[in-house]
Amino acid sequence: MLQYAAIVLIMLGFYGLLTQRNIIKIIISLNILELGANLFIVSVGYVTGGIAPIFTSVNSSSHLLFVDPLPQALVLTAIVIGVGTTALGLALAKNIYQKYGTFEIDEMGEE
C-alpha cells in the first residue's frame, strides 16, 4: 500500500516538473519527486509487525521480527542530499530573480 502512495507522489512530482513554468514550483515538484522516491525506499524495508532493528535488554533475541535497517540508512543519506540540492536550487532561484526580475520562465525572454 505504501508503495502505491510512493509511486503516486513520484508521478505527481513528474507532472509538476513537466507542466510548471515557475522556478519555485519546479523546486517544489522536485521535492515531491524526491519524497516519493524516499518513501519508496523505506517501503522496501517494511515488514508487517516488525520492530526497530536494535538489540536491547527487552529485545535480545535474533529470532524477533525486525524491519530491514539498510533502506532506512539509505533514506537518511538521500534526504541529506535532497536538502543540499534544494538549498542550491533556491540559491540559483535567487540569482535568477536578480537577473530577470521574475520567477516565471516564460517571462525571461530566453530559453
Binding site: 524526491e34 522496501v44 533502506p71 543540499g84 542550491l88 536550487g89 540559483l92 525571461m108
Partner: protein
C-alpha cells in the same frame, strides 16, 4: 598508501581551504598534483571500509580499470585547474569537493555509494557552471541532474528489493545465479541507464548540455566536457560491462537510443554556426559512441575512446573558450583567422580535431579502427556503417571549422595565449600523436582489460 586518501585528502583540504581563503588556490593545486603522483604508490587492491567485509560493507576497488580512470581524470583535472587558478580563486573549495567526488565515482564498488558520489560531484558541477553567469541554464542542469539521480536511486532500490545486495560484484553474481529473466530486470536497469544517461549527455536526456556548454568559459567548458565526461564515462562503463545484463529487446532499445544520440549529435554539430555549439554537439555524439562501444563489450577500447575524447575535448575547449572569453563572441565568422598569429595553439587545435575525426596518425584513429575491425569480425555491419557515416560528417564540419580558423584575411582577431596554456595544449596534443603512432602499448592494454577483473577478489 591506500586509495581512500584520494577521496579523504581533497575533502579535508576543502574544509581547510574555507579557513585559509587566501591559500585555497594553492591548496587546490597541491592536492590535485599530489593525487596524480600518489597514484604511483598505490597497490591494486580492494579496500574494505569500516571493517565490514564486501557484500555487507562499502568497498573501494582499485583495479587495472579504475587505476587508468584515476590517472586520466586526475591528470586532466590538474591541467584544467592549473590554467585557471588565478581567474577562479573563489571556487577553489568547490573544485576540491568535485575532485573528491570524481575520485569516489571511479573507485567505489558499491551501487548506493556510487549514487552518493554522483550527487557530490554533481552538486560541485552545478556550482562550477555558475561561473558561466547563466543561472537559468545551471538551474536546468540541476533539475535534470537531480531527476536523473532520483531515477537511478529508484532503479537501484528495486534491484536491492529483488536481490538483496548493493555491492556491484555481488549484484552481478546474484543476478546471474538467480536466473532472473531479462524482462524482470529490464525496468530497474532502464531507470539506472536513464539516470546515468542524464549525466553522460545521452540524447533524450541531455537538454541541459546546450545551456551549459554553449555559454561555458575557460574553466567550466573543459571541466564538464572533458573531466566530468571522462569520469562519468568510466563509471558508466563499469556498470554496463560488469553489473548490467543487457540482452534481447532491452539491448536493442538501448542501442537505438545510443545510435540516435550519435547521429543527432553529429547532425546538430554539422548545422551549428557557433564554435562552442559545434564542440558541444560533437561531444554528445562522442558520449554516445563511448556507451555504444561499452554496450558491445569492448571494454579496453571503450577506455581508450574515453581517453582520446577527453584529451581532445580538453584542447579544443581550452583554446576555443579562451578566445571566446577575450573576443566575447563565439560565432565562427568572428573567429576567422584566429590561428594565423597563434600557430602553436592552432597546431594543437588541429591535432585534437583530426584525432576526433579519426584521421590516421592520431589516437582517435587507432581506437575507431580497432573497434570497427572487431565489429566487422563479429559480422556486425550496421553499426560500423553508422560510425563511418557519422565520422564523415564529423570530418566535414571539423575541416570547415579548421579552414575558417586558419584562413588568412586582413581583419584578424587579436587573442593572446599565455605560456602555460600553450605548454599544456602542446603536451596533450603530442601525447595524442605519440600514441596514435606507437600503438603497441595501447593495443596490449586494451586487450588485457577484462570485464570483471575484481570479482574474484571482491566478494570473498
Amino acid at each position: 598508501m591506500s586509495a581512500i586518501l584520494l577521496i579523504v585528502v581533497p575533502l579535508l583540504a576543502a574544509f581547510i581551504s574555507i579557513m585559509f581563503k587566501k591559500a585555497a588556490p594553492y591548496i587546490l593545486l597541491l592536492v590535485s598534483f599530489a593525487s596524480v603522483v600518489s597514484l604511483n604508490y598505490m597497490p591494486l587492491e580492494v579496500i574494505t571500509i569500516g571493517g565490514f567485509t564486501a557484500p555487507w560493507g562499502i568497498n573501494l576497488v582499485l583495479d587495472s580499470y579504475s587505476v587508468i580512470g584515476l590517472y586520466v581524470v586526475n591528470s586532466l583535472f590538474f591541467l584544467v585547474i592549473s590554467l585557471n587558478t588565478v581567474k577562479f580563486k573563489k571556487i577553489s573549495t568547490i573544485l576540491l569537493v568535485s575532485l573528491a567526488g570524481l575520485n569516489g565515482l571511479l573507485l567505489t564498488g558499491d551501487l548506493f555509494n556510487l549514487f552518493v558520489f554522483i550527487e557530490v560531484s554533481g552538486i560541485a558541477a552545478y556550482l562550477i557552471t555558475t561561473t558561466n553567469k547563466e543561472p537559468l541554464a545551471t538551474f536546468n542542469y540541476l533539475v535534470a541532474g537531480t531527476v536523473g539521480s532520483s531515477l537511478y536511486l529508484l532503479g537501484l532500490i528495486m534491484l536491492y528489493a529483488m536481490f538483496g545486495t548493493l555491492n556491484m560484484t555481488d549484484m552481478a553474481v546474484r543476478i546471474t545465479a538467480s536466473g532472473a529473466s531479462a524482462s524482470q530486470v529490464a525496468f530497474p536497469f532502464l531507470l539506472m541507464f536513464i539516470g546515468f544517461g542524464v549525466e553522460a549527455k545521452l540524447l533524450p536526456f541531455n537538454s541541459w548540455a546546450k545551456g551549459i556548454l554553449a555559454t561555458s568559459n575557460k574553466l567550466s567548458g573543459p571541466m564538464i566536457a572533458s573531466v566530468y565526461a571522462a569520469a562519468i564515462g568510466f563509471a558508466f562503463g563499469r556498470l554496463l560491462t560488469s553489473v548490467f545484463v543487457f540482452s534481447n529487446t532491452l539491448l536493442l532499445v538501448v542501442t537505438i537510443l545510443v545510435i540516435l544520440s550519435i547521429v543527432a549529435g553529429e547532425a546538430m554539430a554539422f548545422g551549428a554556426s557557433k564554435t562552442r555549439e559545434i564542440l558541444l554537439f560533437s561531444s554528445i555524439a562522442q558520449a554516445g559512441l563511448v556507451v555504444l562501444v561499452f554496450l558491445q563489450g569492448y571494454i579496453g577500447w571503450g577506455v581508450f575512446l574515453i581517453i582520446a575524447n577527453a584529451a581532445g575535448k580538453l584542447i579544443l575547449f581550452v583554446i576555443n573558450n579562451h578566445a571566446v572569453d577575450e573576443l566575447k563572441t563565439d560565432d565562427v565568422e568572428d573567429l576567422k583567422g584566429l590561428f594565423v598569429n597563434n600557430k602553436v595553439v592552432g597546431v594543437a587545435f588541429t591535432v585534437a580535431s583530426l584525432s576526433a575525426m579519426g584521421m590516421p596518425l592520431f589516437l582517435g584513429f587507432v581506437v575507431k579502427m580497432n573497434v570497427l575491425g572487431m565489429m566487422f569480425e563479429e559480422g556486425n555491419l550496421l553499426m560500423p556503417a553508422i560510425i563511418l557515416i557519422t565520422s564523415v560528417v564529423e570530418g566535414i564540419y571539423f575541416t570547415r571549422l579548421l579552414v575558417k580558423l586558419w584562413y588568412k584575411e586582413d581583419n584578424l582577431p587579436k587573442v593572446e595565449y599565455d605560456f602555460t596554456l600553450k605548454y599544456v595544449v602542446i603536451v596533450v596534443a603530442m601525447l595524442l600523436m605519440a600514441f596514435g603512432m606507437y600503438t603497441a602499448p595501447i593495443e596490449n592494454q586494451a586487450n588485457d582489460l577484462g570485464p570483471v577483473t575484481f570479482i574474484e577478489r571482491g566478494i570473498l
